[in-house]
């Protein structure tokens, strides 16, 4: 068992999750299979259809990760089981199944080897391995999702490291679960059934030591979501690393297995994404009043984070944390935004350029354009005057107007052509700069801004420390034993040593010189 999230290998493999990356925020998760479970009836076997074309899984399997994959010509028209017909078919098939008790292949001859795919003329996508970030982006939403900016910070502050054990309550859509697994992962369990934090690395090495494997204990009270999360984790190869428990943690606490006699996850870190985290906190103590085992790791400090959208929730949580002796309590919110970078094109030369603003880019350009317009109208007036002079006395309006209209536009048109060298030369100049380099490079916050996700409350619960422990420690480390006076203890910096060395040398030199002088 290996997970493409953690150890993807170099190539995509059958029966593993792969992501079909369409564009920045759009990727389709799919488990690579030759045959379609739903028997959609493609000759090519299982096919994923996207807006950029159809992709038979035969073209996606065994490819190096990151490859660009061309869409294939897939006959979507004549296959069996489309539209309303499909339902009938499926019903029929179910009936058939009952009779034959085996799964009937949709296309008998194609069952074992799907037809080779033919490349389409257009369309492609990128085949990438899943990461918690990409999964968060593409996962099916069941609840509010904890996004990358939040979980990256939370896991960092929770000190979730390889080998840690982390409790997550409110599995929700599973985005945090995936990120948490990656953070604590330090190897797959050799036996998938054990649920405790301590495992013996039986096959781990020549000298098996107790080696703690990272694990996530996830709790969710919504039964359907539990099922979905479990199925996802199985598909993602994370089964042995995450233990999903269907449980109302307010009532029943955090022991894995049975709520009273179950094993402790021995957590080093706790993440609570619950509506009322303060109700769950009473179970997260060193010595539960009920006498049950503590779900916390007795040998390490425990880091906690709660994720609540409202300030009222935060206040109640913090108040209870204080009562339960949590320390270093702090509350923060993470403001994250993405930044768009583009080339802003403003200028008169950008006529007919997409996305550009045709407007003077500078005072100089504005003035030169105005000058040009002025010049143009002056010419026009002169022309008019000339005409009038030529015609002598102005004629009655009716007869002359026609002639004027004919003449004047013709002249006016001629003028700009000959008299706009500036604009023309501008155009030719800019066209020598490639389109992608034109304009000014600008950046701004993206249009859709998440201004608030949730408040994060952090706290630490130190290890239990009894008088007995203290006594033992005192015996081992005599409290008043101080070997040397501090002054000599302070290590000298390299620079200082050098300086001293130099001073010493200088002094010696001086001495020598003095000696020499004396001798002379």
């Amino acid at each position: 068992m290996s997970s493409p999230f953690l150890t993807p290998g170099s190539h995509s493999q059958l029966d593993q999750l792969a992501l079909l990356h369409l564009r920045r925020d759009q990727a389709i998760p799919t488990v690579l299979q030759l045959q379609d479970e739903d028997n959609a009836g493609y000759k090519e076997g299982k096919v994923t259809t996207t807006r950029f074309g159809s992709f038979p899984h035969t073209t996606l399997t065994g490819q190096p990760w990151g490859s660009q994959i061309i869409a294939s010509k897939v006959d979507t028209g004549s296959r069996r089981g489309r539209g309303p017909q499909k339902k009938n078919r499926q019903l029929k098939r179910k009936a058939d199944d009952l009779d034959s008790a085996t799964t009937t292949p949709a296309e008998g001859e194609n069952q074992s080897s799907p037809q080779a795919a033919v490349a389409a003329s257009s369309g492609f996508l990128h085949l990438v391995y899943p990461t918690p970030e990409l999964w968060t982006m593409s996962l099916p939403h069941r609840t509010q999702v904890v996004y990358t900016p939040d979980y990256s910070y939370i896991l960092h502050r929770l000190r979730a490291r390889p080998g840690s054990s982390i409790i997550e309550a409110g599995a929700g859509s599973g985005s945090f679960t995936h990120a948490a697994v990656r953070a604590v992962f330090n190897g797959y369990p050799t036996t998938t059934t054990t649920t405790t934090g301590e495992r013996e690395g039986v096959d781990a090495g020549p000298s098996p030591k107790n080696r703690r494997l990272g694990q996530v204990s996830s709790f969710e009270f919504h039964e359907q979501r539990v099922g979905k999360v479990r199925q996802e984790l199985r598909e993602h190869g994370l089964e042995g690393l995450v233990h999903v428990t269907h449980r109302d943690v307010y009532q029943d606490g955090f022991l894995v297995g049975d709520s009273k006699t179950g094993t402790s996850p021995k957590a080093n870190a706790v993440f609570l994404d619950l509506p009322a985290p303060w109700l769950a906190l009473r179970h997260l103590v060193r010595h539960p009043p009920s006498g049950a085992e503590s779900p916390l790791d007795p040998t390490s400090p425990v880091y906690l984070c709660t994720f609540s959208p409202c300030l009222e929730q935060v206040q109640r949580t913090v108040s209870v944390l204080r009562q339960l002796s949590w320390l270093d309590i702090s509350m923060v919110e993470v403001n994250n935004h993405r930044i768009d970078v583009k080339r802003e094109k403003v200028g008169l030369e950008f006529e007919k350029v997409r996305g550009a603003v045709v407007f003077p880019k500078s005072v100089e350009e504005a003035v030169s354009k105005m000058r040009h317009v002025e010049e143009h109208s002056r010419k026009y007036r002169e022309l008019q005057q000339q005409q009038e002079e030529e015609d002598g006395t102005p004629l009655p309006a009716s007869g002359d107007k026609q002639g004027k209209e004919e003449k004047a536009p013709a002249q006016a048109k001629a003028v700009p052509e000959s008299e706009t060298p500036v604009a023309v030369s501008d155009l030719t100049q800019t066209s020598s700069v490639p389109l992608y380099q034109q304009g000014r490079l600008v950046h701004r916050t993206e249009d859709n801004l998440k201004t608030h996700t949730s408040y994060l409350v952090f706290a630490v619960l130190p290890r239990d420390w009894t008088e007995e422990d203290e006594q033992k420690c005192r015996e081992k480390w005599p409290p008043h034993q101080v070997d040397q006076p501090m002054q000599t203890e302070k290590p000298k910096g390299r620079k200082q040593l050098k300086r001293e060395q130099l001073q010493k040398e200088e002094a010696e030199e001086k001495q020598q010189q003095q000696q020499q002088q004396q001798q002379q």
């Binding site: 290996s2 290998g9 990356h21 920045r24 807006r51 073209t59 065994g62 190096p64 990760w65 490859s67 660009q68 294939s72 080779a116 033919v118 369309g123 492609f124 970030e133 990358t148 900016p149 990256s152 910070y153 960092h156 390889p162 080998g163 990656r182 992962f185 330090n186 190897g187 797959y188 690395g201 096959d203 781990a204 090495g205 020549p206 000298s207 080696r211 040998t299 935060v314 206040q315 204080r322 009562q323 002796s325 309590i329 702090s330 509350m331 993470v334 403001n335 994250n336 993405r338 930044i339 080339r343 389109l435 490079l441 950046h443 130190p462 420390w465 480390w477 409290p479 008043h480 203890e489």
Partner: protein, 569 residues
């Protein structure tokens, strides 16, 4: 896990002034905390972290110093009392004008405090109760104390506590703490003003994690080791430390796990004794053979960090806080085997590097045995260093890395130019910069318009090469116009995160009034992809076809792939 204070470990002390002080805890020595007191190190060794201690001593007596653990209830006492009062009646706590104190009558000068500086100094000398007595005296002799509102009284007390309390909290030194320490207490510029939130994002977008237990499926792991990361770090080792922490190779005691798992599959040094001869990397010959897990420096296959550095020696001075001295690394530290350094010159032009280029002449064993031991070990050291540099540089040049994380003073585009080709397909790239401009430039180099132009130009050149006999060097022609190959990176994105800290107190919750300014810190990230060289049209809505081509960037897949799959399936 940081379960207790280990001897000779660096730890952090949080002082009443909110300052952090980092010190190495050497057994049988004194720990100095400036005006906050002095105490023997032995009194905190072996104790758990996050405990707060008061320093008590009787003046004039030697060995009278003792530490008292301050309980959480005591630390929270004021808030708990305040909350308890509030709990009585949930409605507005009886708004009576008589009891509602305001700051209307407070006097804004120092004449209210009747204790003189001399008196306070004298108190300090006599005081035994960790500064509490001084504060009590100060409150007593404040003439206008009864005019203060509850809030201002609390503030006054807090201010005095910060000044006079002999109290400290012991905190484990980890990456998060070091980041804040460098940012707030030291020179932030040395770490490029890196913040926690930026480090978290870097690690996530870089997909940095443990490469996996190798006891599982040995074959594939050996042929394709997991978790090899490429790092460019000009933060003095902070980014390396953060990555190492995420990979479980930062702390000396992490090693227990790691060595084990490395040994499992990686039987490189099967016989520890012979290994010294083979690799000759042992800085000391004695005692080395007895160590079971002795492996040559920088020899790990998976779960490794390769640091690219600009100067002859990398600056990784901050790693010393985690027990890894760059000059003389401890052999038992996990970074000893899993952290590799390669200079950019070694990467681009290895033969220009004298160590790489000049193989020390091999000396036959018989001749060697006649050498003096110092000369022999010098020979082994030289030979070992050459072999190590060879191996590490060749490995880096071969590429296939699983992720790239950059925080550099250099132009990021020049770094990306040489590092992106070293990544495996689908490997993520994450770049940090304190300022946005270097990254907007990178974004522009990967802009859709540029990508389209690049692809068109490449096709043109290819056609040119196909039709004319004149050999056209497509690559160099393209490089002239395009400093970076824009088709190698998918979904380039720029983002920034900033954490805002709040004060949460009963009835007084609000964001902190001030915080550190300076660099916001920006993260650029994307995914390395393998474009096909054929031309391919993007599909989509025909009416927006032109735009789509430009945006979703075309690069083609081979049509031959389908057939390959059939074969393997």
């Amino acid at each position: 896990m940081h379960s207790y204070v280990r001897p000779n470990q660096f730890v952090a002390f949080k002082l009443p002034s909110d300052q952090t002080r980092i010190q190495k805890i050497v057994p049988n020595t004194q720990v100095f905390l400036g005006k906050y007191g002095t105490f023997p190190a032995n009194q905190i060794i072996g104790r758990p972290f996050y405990l707060t201690f008061d320093i008590h001593e009787t003046p004039g007596e030697t060995d009278s110093t003792y530490l008292r653990i301050v309980s959480a209830a005591e630390l929270h006492a004021e808030h708990l009392i305040a909350e308890g009062e509030g709990d009585g009646d949930d409605q507005e706590p009886a708004v009576e004008a008589a009891t509602m104190r305001t700051n209307r009558d407070t006097i804004d000068d120092r004449s209210t405090q009747k204790l003189t500086i001399e008196e306070i100094e004298a108190l300090k000398k006599e005081s035994t109760g960790a500064g509490k007595e001084i504060i009590a005296k100060l409150l007593e002799s404040h003439s206008a104390i009864d005019q203060k509102t509850a809030f201002s009284l609390a503030k006054y007390k807090l201010r005095k506590e910060r000044k006079y309390m002999k109290r400290f909290t012991v905190i484990p030194l980890d990456v998060s703490l070091l980041t804040n320490y460098m940012l707030q207490d030291k020179e932030a510029a040395r770490t490029l003003e890196m913040r926690d939130e930026a480090l978290g994002l870097l690690g996530c977008w870089g997909n940095v994690h443990h490469g996996g237990s190798t006891s599982f499926d040995m074959e594939t792991v050996l042929s394709n080791p997991n978790g090899r990361y490429l790092v460019v770090d000009d933060t003095g080792g902070l980014v390396v430390a953060a990555m190492a922490e995420r990979m479980g190779i930062l702390y000396p005691h992490d090693g227990d796990f790691d060595e084990e798992q490395q040994d499992a599959h990686q039987k490189v040094p099967a016989t520890a004794g012979a290994q010294g001869e083979h690799d000759g990397e042992a800085p000391s010959t004695e005692g080395a053979t007895s160590r079971r897990n002795r492996r040559p420096q920088m020899s790990a296959q998976g779960n490794t960090i390769t640091l690219l550095h600009a100067n002859k020696q990398p600056n990784i001075s901050l790693l010393k806080y985690f027990g890894y001295e760059a000059d003389d690394p401890s052999e038992t530290h996990p970074l000893y085997t899993n952290f590799k350094t390669v200079s950019f010159m070694q990467l681009l032009d290895p033969n220009a590097d004298s160590i790489y280029d000049q193989e020390p002449a091999e000396i036959p064993a018989e001749e060697l045995s006649t050498y003096k031991s110092s000369k022999r070990s010098a020979y082994h050291r030289k030979r070992g260093r050459w072999m190590r540099v060879r191996r590490v540089v060749d490995e880096a040049r071969a590429g296939g890395f699983d992720g790239l994380v950059i925080a550099t003073l250099m132009d990021p585009s020049s770094v990306l130019k040489h590092t992106i080709p070293l990544l495996a397909g689908s490997a993520p790239v994450a770049v940090y910069s304190p300022n946005i401009e270097p990254l907007t430039e990178v974004m522009d180099l990967y802009s859709t318009a540029r990508k389209t132009a690049f692809i068109n130009r490449r096709r043109e050149l290819m056609e040119q090469r196909a039709t004319s006999d004149d050999p056209v060097d497509v690559r160099s022609e393209l490089e002239e116009e395009f400093p970076l190959d824009p088709t190698l990176l998918l979904a380039p994105t720029l983002e920034t995160s900033r954490v805002r800290v709040w004060q949460v107190l009963p009835g007084r919750s609000h964001p902190m009034m001030s915080s550190r300014g300076g660099a916001d810190g920006f993260i650029f990230h994307g995914i390395k992809v393998i474009p096909t060289q054929e031309h391919i049209e993007a599909a989509g809505n025909p009416s927006r076809k032109k735009r789509k081509i430009a945006r979703s960037d075309e690069t083609p897949a081979d049509s031959g792939e389908g057939a390959d799959v059939e074969m393997t399936a």
